[in-house]
């Protein structure tokens, strides 16, 4: 029995240390200020992916500054409370718990990467706190909770848009799909097939390859036999490079369709001519865009940070503004903010016209790009 009592004694000591520290800190942290509206933000501010976290923080800081300069939320000051999660799921959960327990925030911008969003979303659902991710892309997040929103389209969204484009704008009727065999590739190819066949086209052949594969001749031969008008290729840069080279060697001259992975200077350097005329989807944010809202954003961002903004800060900037929009409409609790964000239609953000579907996924236009004379250009330009 002696062991038992010592065990319990030790456990209690450990417990007491933890309880003492945290309750003490909680009390200090609970300063009540009713003149402020608090929103939580959890980003990877240190660690391996801190570079993205810092960019998103820049975007959020800029948005908050603008909101407060123009009178805040119904004369109340908007305050964001940052927590660092280092891109680590358990740290993300701790930060989330801290923000909703000690600060009682109704909404949290966070879960910047899919791993963190997937860990935190079930808790957000249970606690009825809005979780709004600026950049998580995993298809598994679609419909995970009514309290979860994201401003970056799901990985499979590109497929849907490209399918529609291929059927309506390019007026193709026979397309082959060549995809990487994982969640992303399978999901994307299904979305493409659905929207393309709805538009009147038909998929003549579907072939897959494993991630990291280096020989695509078998698949390409099969595709060639089916005589499609275009091939929709879904893969990562590494495979794309080899695939395109083998396609060139086999002398296949078929229109190429591809994904955001294609938008990489390495493609132009290493593939050159074989990439010519390929069409692919890309996110809408473009710092050189002539629209007024983007112009002011770029100007203010450069004035504040001395560098050009990119897609990461633009995404976070829009997220903060959407949350502020909900707050300005008088939403206070998590469920009220949830209801307001779900209603957002055609919000004019720097990353494009933003709406949300019933599953919390963002609906926003994508750009179609192509390669002409060895450079990436907008598909519509010069047509």
């Amino acid at each position: 029995m002696k062991h038992l009592t010592t065990n319990i004694k030790q456990l209690t000591t450990a417990l007491l240390i933890a309880v003492f520290f945290v309750t003490g800190a909680t009390l200090i942290g609970c300063k009540k200020q009713s003149e402020e509206i608090k929103i939580g933000v959890i980003l990877p501010l240190t660690g391996d992916i801190a570079v993205y976290g810092q960019k998103m923080k820049n975007g959020i800081d800029l948005a908050v500054e603008e909101i407060n300069k123009s009178g805040g939320i119904k004369t109340k000051k908007l305050v964001v409370l940052y927590e660092d999660d280092q891109g680590d799921p358990k740290s993300s959960v701790a930060a989330f718990r801290k923000l909703i327990t000690t600060e009682k925030v109704p909404a949290i911008i966070g879960g910047a990467i899919s791993a963190c969003a997937l860990s935190v979303a079930p808790i957000a659902d249970k606690e009825k706190v809005v979780l709004f991710s600026p950049a998580a892309t995993s298809p598994k997040l679609t419909g995970i909770s009514e309290y979860f929103f994201r401003n970056w389209p799901s990985d499979v969204y590109e497929g849907l848009v490209m399918g529609r484009f291929a059927a309506d704008t390019l007026e193709l009727s026979k397309v082959a799909i060549l995809y990487v065999n994982n969640d992303w590739g399978v999901g994307l190819s299904k979305e493409f097939e659905k929207s393309f066949t709805r538009g009147g086209g038909s998929i003549v052949v579907k072939e897959s390859f494993d991630q990291g594969a280096s020989d695509f001749r078998t698949q390409l031969t099969k595709i060639l036999k089916a005589k499609p008008q275009a091939i929709y290729i879904i893969g990562y840069l590494k495979e794309l490079l080899i695939l395109l080279r083998q396609k060139e060697e086999m002398g296949i001259k078929i229109q190429l369709l591809s994904t955001y992975g294609f938008y990489d200077p390495q493609i132009l350097q290493e593939i050159g001519k074989a990439a010519e005329d390929a069409i692919f989807t890309a996110p809408i944010f473009d710092p050189g865009s002539p629209t007024k809202i983007v112009e002011t954003y770029v100007k203010e961002y450069e004035a504040k940070y001395g560098v050009k903004p990119d897609i990461w800060s633009a995404q976070a900037y829009d997220v903060m503004n959407v949350v502020a929009l909900a707050l300005k409409k008088g939403a206070k609790t998590g469920s009220e903010i949830q209801a307001e964000i779900a209603k957002v239609k055609n919000f004019e953000g720097v990353s494009g016209l933003t709406s949300f579907d019933e599953k919390g996924d963002v609906v926003k236009p994508l750009r179609f790009m192509t390669v002409r004379n060895g450079v990436f250009v907008d598909y519509s330009s010069g047509k």
């Binding site: 000591t13 240390i17 520290f21 799921p89 079930p122 995993s138």
Partner: protein, 289 residues
């Protein structure tokens, strides 16, 4: 309140990890740097069983622990031939291998995309989704681990472990089978680490390889050294403080532009100061050789 409970759950999981590593590093004196590999196996085996075959987390936890023990044999075997730094490097390598398998065997582990939606434990049909219920579950496992560890180190078996630590050749000269004991220590340590991994997976309900890097192994080793090698109380205190302290630093109230970075620096500073002032750890008996 849930915040506090969450920290306690995480502390509990790390206490199990630290105790199991303390048996290997602290009591037997075998420096290892691959402890996260064991918890990785435990987490993945029980999650995959639950997700693909609908196996109850309870059975998954046991199978995962056995798989961890099996890996303990694989990692423990080189320990029979290698000593000191060489053993540390070998276990480091095996830790990297397990991490790489989890990351690259995409068709089974889903690689860097991770495993979402892992089911939670349930008792008599009641899901332990309430965090305080889970804390009780983790508390029970912590208590069992402490109990077993205490029994081991205070038994004749434990005395042999310490004799291996002090002087392996003398121990062998006394007729003790040191090889068998070293292997057993790895198996026991791996078994409990795998349990901790499984508890983690079914709590967070999402795992990906990034939770089981070599850095994670080093963190656990840090907890052992910080608390004190060869001390059970030390492991408990070490794990608790190193889990609680970074959370505590969230309350410093610094401006947001430097808060995150300062938090990391203060954490590092704490480790440096403690190692200079008290190299044997808070409650430890031995210094790190």
């Amino acid at each position: 309140m849930e915040y506090l409970l969450h920290i306690l759950v995480i502390s509990g999981i790390y206490i199990i990890l630290t105790l199991s590593l303390n048996l290997i590093v602290g009591y037997t004196g075998l420096p290892t740097l691959g402890h996260a590999a064991f918890s990785c196996i435990g987490a993945y085996v029980s999650s995959l069983l639950a997700l693909n075959f609908g196996v109850s987390p309870w059975i998954g936890l046991i199978i995962g622990a056995c798989a961890g023990a099996l890996l303990g044999v694989v990692i423990g075997y080189p320990s029979l031939r290698l000593k000191g730094d060489y053993l540390a490097l070998t276990t480091f390598g095996l830790g990297v291998i397990v991490y790489s398998i989890a990351k690259n065997w995409v068709s089974v582990t889903r690689g860097p995309m991770g495993l979402p939606g892992i089911p939670q434990f349930s008792v008599f049909g009641v899901q332990l989704s309430e965090i305080w219920l889970y804390l009780i579950l983790v508390g029970v496992f912590v208590w069992v681990t402490i109990f077993v560890m205490r029994r081991i180190v205070n038994s004749p078996f434990g005395r042999i472990l310490r004799s291996i630590r002090e002087d392996e050749i003398a121990s062998e000269a006394m007729g003790k089978d040191t090889a068998k004991h070293k292997l057993l220590v790895f198996i026991i340590g791996a078994f409990f680490a795998a349990i901790a991994g499984s508890l983690y997976a079914h709590y967070i309900t999402f795992i990906d390889p990034s939770s089981f890097t070599v850095m994670e192994s080093i963190t656990i080793l840090l907890m052992v050294i910080f608390g004190g090698m060869g001390s059970i109380t030390g492991s408990i205190v070490g794990a608790t403080i190193l889990v609680v302290f970074p959370e505590l630093l969230r309350f410093l109230g610094m401006p947001s532009s430097i808060a995150a970075q300062t938090r990391q620096m203060i954490y590092g500073l704490l480790l440096i100061v403690l190692m200079i002032k008290r190299p044997q750890g808070i409650m430890g008996r031995y210094r790190f050789k």
